[in-house]
């Protein structure tokens, strides 16, 4: 069993969800694709991206 499979199965077991091998293979494929994109967020410089309030109903207020 791969590290991913061990970890994913343990996570799902905690949530009371059973997954079979085929399902897990599809999940791994989707997760790998998502993580590939999400890791871009790990590389941002937090000083360049300050935490700011967001009001989606309006344009952001001028700074």
């Amino acid at each position: 069993m791969s590290d991913f499979e061990d970890w994913a199965r343990a996570t799902y077991r905690q949530a009371g969800i059973d997954v079979d091998e085929n399902e897990l293979a599809l999940v791994e494929l989707i997760y790998a694709g998502a993580l590939n994109q999400l890791e871009m967020l790990d590389r941002i410089d937090l000083e360049e991206f300050p935490a700011r309030g967001v009001d989606l109903r309006h344009a952001p207020k001028a700074t």
């Binding site: 998502a34 999400l38 967020l41 935490a51 967001v54 109903r57 344009a59």
Partner: protein
Amino acid sequence: MTHPQDLSLRQQAEAIRRGELSAKDLLEATLERLRSRDSSINSTPVIFDELSQAQISQAPAGPLFGVPITVKDMFALPWRAARNGTSHNLIPAGASGPYRSLRDAGVIVVGIANQHELGIGSTGLYSAYGPMRNPWNPLHIAGGSSGGSAGAVAARLVAGSLASDSGGSTRIPASFCGVVGLKLTYGSVPYDGYFGAATTFSAPGLIARDGGDARMLTAAMLQRPLPQQSGSGLRVGVVREPYWNDVEHEAAELCTKALTLAGWKVTEVKIENLELAGAAFLGRLIAEAGIPSPEVFATVSEPTRALLLAGMLTPARIVPRADRVRAAIRYSLAAALETVDFLAWPTTPSGAPTLEDPWVNLPSGRVPVDMPNVRQNSLANLTGAPAISIPVGLSSAQLPIGLQLLGPWGSEARLLDAAEHIERASDRAFVNLVAPLAR
């Protein structure tokens, strides 16, 4: 004699107002058309025969009195719970905020518009009611998640439909089915009784055959007049990478031709940090999606279940970073929109692919159509801005292509002005195209 559903939505409303057509006759003709025509596209799996007739006697004499529409399965109605494309009652029956706005304008809800289950898919392939098919070619997808709304309008079963949009769910099926789809500014109407209340991405959407009909529906939704102004002389910004460069050549070509016809001043613009938009959208969306109840989870399709399971594994550290990027991109977009009136690019990377093979071949490679669909549309959801998809012609495979316009927060009227300007500049050549199923 013209079938009443071959009239535009505003013609239907006007004919009733003048006494040339009764609401009862329009409803009967609509129900007959739904029964006879929908089986090949599965846009409207639930039809309210008796309930829709009862609505006529209770409808106020508003601007849309007696006009039949369908409502996506994401909105609670007084007589039906919202099921979100599943077989479960997920929001109890009641008058949802968006429904109330349209009810007060006098519409008659004749049925539930089919949708991709839980709203998490842009194909319309998975639903408790079965897949939605495209009126231009039933072997092709209608798109999603509001595939039933777009399919029904394109097939002329109804002239308008209430949809929703969390990542392009109104605009994508509008593009694939050759109709107009408008995503409202986030939070511009009450969200009670609507699944959109559970996310920071979703806004109600309206689907109609042209800009004039979309304007009537939008004014009813926003409960304020949206007077028509000239759409000429507007300034358009284009963002080449990735929105124009990574789509099928035909899609870019048809959209370029439409912009040329409009005679607008087109300039290239840059949105700072746009390359992070997809990650920010995905990071927060996954956090908000969560896992449905065990009863619902047990009944969803395998692909939806796999998406939800993958989401469970996403590291939480991503979310505050996604929010920081989201805030920054909102500032970048606002800055870009100070130099132009709106941004424009192809709504979808191609015409609708087939149900059997919902993938597309792009300059960047062969991918499931969901990926570029969401990429082309999620900026409006990430930022809260309104956006519209308008038909701009047919591909060589005789499938519609849509042009997307994204404007400043609260600019629905300007987007509709632009849509109607393109219609005039093209002698209505694009909006007058009729799907084979509707001929």
